[in-house]
Amino acid sequence: MDLSLSDEQRDIMRMTREFTDARIAPRAREWDREHSIPPEVFAELGGLGLWGVCVPEEYGGAGADYLSFIIVLEELSRGDAGLGVTVAVNTSLATLPILDFGTEAQKREWVPRLAGGEVIGAYALTEPGAGSDAASITTTARRDGDGYRLNGAKQFVTNAGIAGVFIVMARTGEAGGGSKGITAFIVDATTEGFTLGREEEKLGINSSSTRGLTFDDAWVPDSAVLGSEGDGFGIAMATLDGGRIGIAAQAVGIAQAAMETAVAYSKDRWQFGHPIAEFQAVRFKLADMDRDIDAARLLTYRAAWLKMMGRPVTAAGAKAKLFASEMARRHTAEAVQVLGGYGYTKEFPAERFYRDAKITEIYEGTSEVQRIVISRELLGG
């Protein structure tokens, strides 16, 4: 057993951390307030290869391994969790499914642009009436000529406002067919009959875009089908298996940032004639944070390693996401507590970490869904 990172993984971590400290973290407060990230930041990420970390070189990626991608997500999220999820969704939920299930032509058409950040990807499964019960989606795709006509609505689509391409799950089979009869489509954002809903107003990750989609007789060609007709639900679930590891990394990054803020503050803040870092009540909070962040990071790395080895990752990814997200929610709250009144203000980033952490318990499968996944593995059924 060797827990040390490779030279490349360490160099990638170092570079991303330096970049985040200089270019991301100092601007995160403004992006949170403005509810957007300037496009030149996306271009900068493209130049560094951060949109396609684990995408093979032959498809325009950096050709690093999956753990390197997970490390990048943690480091970016440490600076701005909204940027973290923007990159996570682009790679985990749009680029990788095309690489895993797409035809050579689909890979050539989309992956180099997604890996370079010229086009940003999104993933549309959730609907107003289908959240955790993803098999109950009602968006339809009906055969029409050499393609399909899509009708219906998607909701809470991360990256929607900035994406050029969407992986869309729609029902090609009978209504009420459950997980059967769902097909995945690669939908170009310029497709006629495809429109975006308004930006959601959210609790956190405000720099990232979240919108609904509407399909009104939107026609896509046969070449837009990802995998085979009827395979959509399996593709959607397999994609989320990997996506969860990225969200676990995001949660670890947010918690790490919160801990660093609390540690720095506790050394500077004097009360009763001492820095508050000298008080056991504060020291023990910070010790617990450090312990749990470490544990979450190790679960996340293990899940990433299993994926790299091609081993089953469903339960391991669910455990990492469940533990990391609950840990992040709990300890970002404790970080606010360490900062006291200052922590509650927007002068300090602790409150942003607290708001940003909550979503990690909800998207790409709620904590309750993760427990279903883990218990199914443990108990069967």
Binding site: E8, D11, I12, F19, E57, A62, A64
Partner: protein, 259 residues
Amino acid sequence: MEIVVCVKQVVDTEAEKKLLAPDWRLDRQSVENVLNPYDEYAVEEAVRLKEAHGGEVTVLCMGPEDAQSAVRKALAMGADRALMVTDPALAGSDTQGTALALSGALAGLTYDLVILGIMSTDAQTGQLPSALGDILDLPVLTALNMMKFEDGSLTVHRQTDQGYVAYGCGLPAVCSVVKGINEPRYPSLKGIMGAKKKPLETKDLAELGVDTARVGGAGALTKVLSTTAPPPRKAGQKIEDDGTAAQRIVEFLAGEKII
């Protein structure tokens, strides 16, 4: 244009540094080591000159095997190859010893320019470029904040308090650059992934034909006698406002000749 950039691995500037008795060498074991931040400007300048005029950039580094991570960063930023000078006999070298070892390595390389950072953040002597130029008998231009290569000759600027001085010289030459001459790039992921595939050679002193008696702690011409931490700062003076605080602050500042 063939360029050699000399780089050093140093202790991370953020880390707390410790000097270890008996010879007061820096503790490099228990801390994070990085590419000397000043050297990043030298690497960037070399890569930019290469991108504009062609040729190759060779990274030259004297240090233990572990210093490879600093060399890898320079390669990831765009340098083409690297030569490491690694030999246990080099431990404890002073500036002259370092210059001797590096000049031995340069003898086996083809170069038009040798570029260095203004100094290392650990030893901070800033003597190496001059010592190197002296041994190699080459023109030395230090503390540059602009370098331009045109029609076969080099024009550089050295920043001064009043403005800058422009110098010119033929090649080859030894130059040191300051922070601010450029903005060093972050190594891209492609750069990082490609760094390991670039040629990296390691040579010891025997292979370079450098006399081991003239380098290292034994050959050093200077010796560190002792080190002393700066005295702790005295507690400040507190002025409680009883209505006369402003007056007393003004008096204090005037007394210190600040106003």
